[in-house]
Symmetry: C2
Subunit: 414 residues, 2 copies
């Protein structure tokens, strides 16, 4: 249970503070770091000199803009791009992509591939993933030793220990321990992340002012997913990645959902549901396997043109999302929302009904003050979140003396 703080934990934690301050701030001077961490200048000086000696940080002749000031100019501290690297794998419907990212967060290599995830047998799916990773690792330009971590993101439910995919809409297969598989194959620590959680992580890095301590990222795609940050931390369920917003019950016994149950939010707001309603196929119609983004955009265009079943379909989606968000807000209070995915591009069609629905719920009091951002393209967000998640892990490993540091660096000698 509650662990006491050992004396040597102190340095560990404060190293952590310094590294994360540098990652957040870009090129802060030692003085700035001292200010944000609350530690003394002497401490920051000692720690950063250690980190530079270990090749984790490097001095960069800093902000020329501010060098107009008097005194001794600040020396910016930056992450040394060569200190380590991470590899991200994003597995989504019929699509697999990997990227290699250096310690400073820059993409240094990538590869993408189409594949038929829905019909692929287990071995083949796993094989494709390991193969694409292996190809990247065998790249002669890459120092394999520097790859410190792999983060794999997938649509669907992952376990709360970030080891396995439990269930995913992109494949009928279940319980694939991707993290263990990749670790076993390549001997590099790996984690298995939920795509929407990675979206949330990315949003926070992109716009820390708007997405700080509490916010919601909702994926409006074939299915409905959610990434939730509460009190500054990624929210996960007790056993799984949790936050299955799409499968909150909107109408008990209602429309047939892809998950086999009835009345889920997704059964009204997922692409297949909007499609089904627009085509007036009835709520019991079996969900179609996939609707292309182009088809969805065409559907939205038609809905904008005339008040027909297409517009009504988007209205129903908005209503379901609104009541769902209302129930969510009853639990966590309102927070900024980012709508991501192809249907976020049709948010103009969704928003009126959504706001009307929210107004009828507990969140309704603040209905006006709730603001929505839209971002139609989810893949870059997911990849970015994966990268930052993996890099944060590496940061932690680096200041944990117990762990072998894989970067080609030697300890400074006092």
């Amino acid at each position: 249970m509650s662990a006491g703080i050992r004396h040597d934990d102190l340095r560990r934690r404060n190293r952590a503070m310094v590294i994360s301050a540098v990652r957040r701030a870009g090129q802060p001077s030692r003085t700035e770091i001292a200010a944000t961490t609350g530690l003394s200048h002497s401490t920051i000086s000692a720690i950063s000199s250690d980190l530079i000696g270990e090749g984790i940080l490097s001095e960069s002749k800093a902000n020329e803009a501010i060098s107009l000031k008097r005194g001794r100019p600040q020396v910016g501290l930056a992450l040394n791009p060569e200190a380590a690297a991470v590899l991200t794998v994003v597995l989504s419907l019929n699509f697999l992509s990997v990227a290699v990212i250096d310690y400073a967060g820059q993409v240094i290599a990538e590869e993408q591939r189409r594949l038929d995830t829905l019909t692929m047998p287990r071995d083949e799916l796993i094989g494709e993933c390991t193969a694409i990773v292996r190809r990247r690792l065998e790249d002669p330009d890459l120092d394999v030793q520097s790859i410190a971590r792999i983060a794999l993101a997938i649509q669907g439910i992952t376990d709360s220990h970030a080891r396995a995919m439990l269930w995913s809409p992109i494949t009928p297969l279940t319980n694939i321990a991707f993290a263990d598989i990749l670790e076993g194959e390549f001997g590099i620590p790996a984690t298995m992340e939920n795509d929407c959680n990675m979206m949330a992580v990315a949003l926070r890095w992109r716009d820390p002012d708007r997405y700080r301590d509490d916010f919601i990222a909702i994926l409006l795609s074939h299915g409905i997913g959610m990434g939730l940050v509460l009190k500054g931390e990624l929210f996960t369920g007790t056993h799984s990645s949790g936050g299955e917003f799409g499968h909150m019950i909107h109408r008990p016994g209602g429309a047939l959902c892809r998950c086999g149950r009835r009345g889920c939010v997704e059964a009204y707001a997922g692409n297949y549901a909007i499609w089904r309603n627009a085509k007036q196929m009835g709520e019991d119609a079996e969900p179609v396997a996939d609707v292309s983004d182009a088809d969805m955009r065409a559907l939205a265009a038609r809905a904008r043109e005339a008040d027909g079943p297409e517009r009504e379909a988007y209205r129903k989606a908005g209503e379901a999302l609104g009541f769902g968000l209302g129930s969510l807000f009853a639990l966590i209070d309102p927070a900024p929302v980012a709508m991501v995915g192809v249907s976020a591009g049709a948010f103009d069609l969704i928003e009126p009904a959504l706001r009307e629905a929210i107004a009828q719920t507990a969140g309704g009091q603040h209905s006006g003050s709730i603001s929505f951002d839209t971002e139609p393209n989810e893949l870059p967000l997911i990849r970015e979140g994966c990268a930052m998640q993996a890099l944060s892990f590496v940061d932690q490993e680096i200041f944990a003396p117990g762990t072998q540091i894989r970067a080609g660096s030697k300890k400074s000698v006092a």
Copy 2:
């Protein structure tokens, strides 16, 4: 933002560990504390000798049962009951109760009072609260100086800073900053807590095995409330006490809820809703102000006797709770549930429909493994939770050197 750890924080935190280890374990020996905290024997020895010197802990000639062992017998450490005391105030529908609790957690005085909260004007309600507290503080048997904290719990929504009641079903009044009022009046730090959150706190102290890191306490009373513990911490909303499970939407546009909206879980499962359905008054009927516990018990008895509208009313309540829990489980995954309040005594009537509903939701996969506890009497739980919450605050104040310690104790001199 992220604060570094100063050198003097170390002692503070480790003192915290020791105190909370003692509060949890009852009368642990120094060796046991060392084991649970992971700190060395020397450190525990130093800290506990400080704490004893300051009058916070005391040695108690420990477990005679274990003194059969060889070696030097363990000396149990106990909280010194006189180190401080706290005062709890529980304000519920037409009922106000206070208790004074010593540092070891024993009730040393209490007082209860009926009052008409629904019609009472603002000044009077506040006046009643301050008056009952003043009476306790003026008790000649009590050392006023020792009262280190006041915790006030109320049914309804409180703000996330534990300062004010925002809204409550027990009064039409809103936005009463009880914590500030009591602090101003008596000069004793006070907090304003949500009743269901305090239930959850109490459950954890009562049965730490069952209610550890993740669990749900649901109040089935006139209204429906929830206290939620996730990852070992009390879950609150971003702005308010949050966790308004009762106002998640069960059926959009459905039955009229006491909150003025439609289709909330509470509009089917609150006492007034069960009453309304049992009396076949229609879902639009204005909720009655109060139903006595005796009436509810009579209703449950009739429902058990024959399959009439009463039984159907409980079935609907179960359905609403089941779908609500199902949606909640979609977000947080299933967790142990405690049903508290008068209708928890009728859980046999509620459970079948509840389980059936859950089975139709995302939580359904684990439907069988979800276990429910029942506790018909909420008041003792709330009071107990309040006491532990207040005592935990005092624990924190005691190891924070910045704070003036109000207990009559002097620092040990080295």
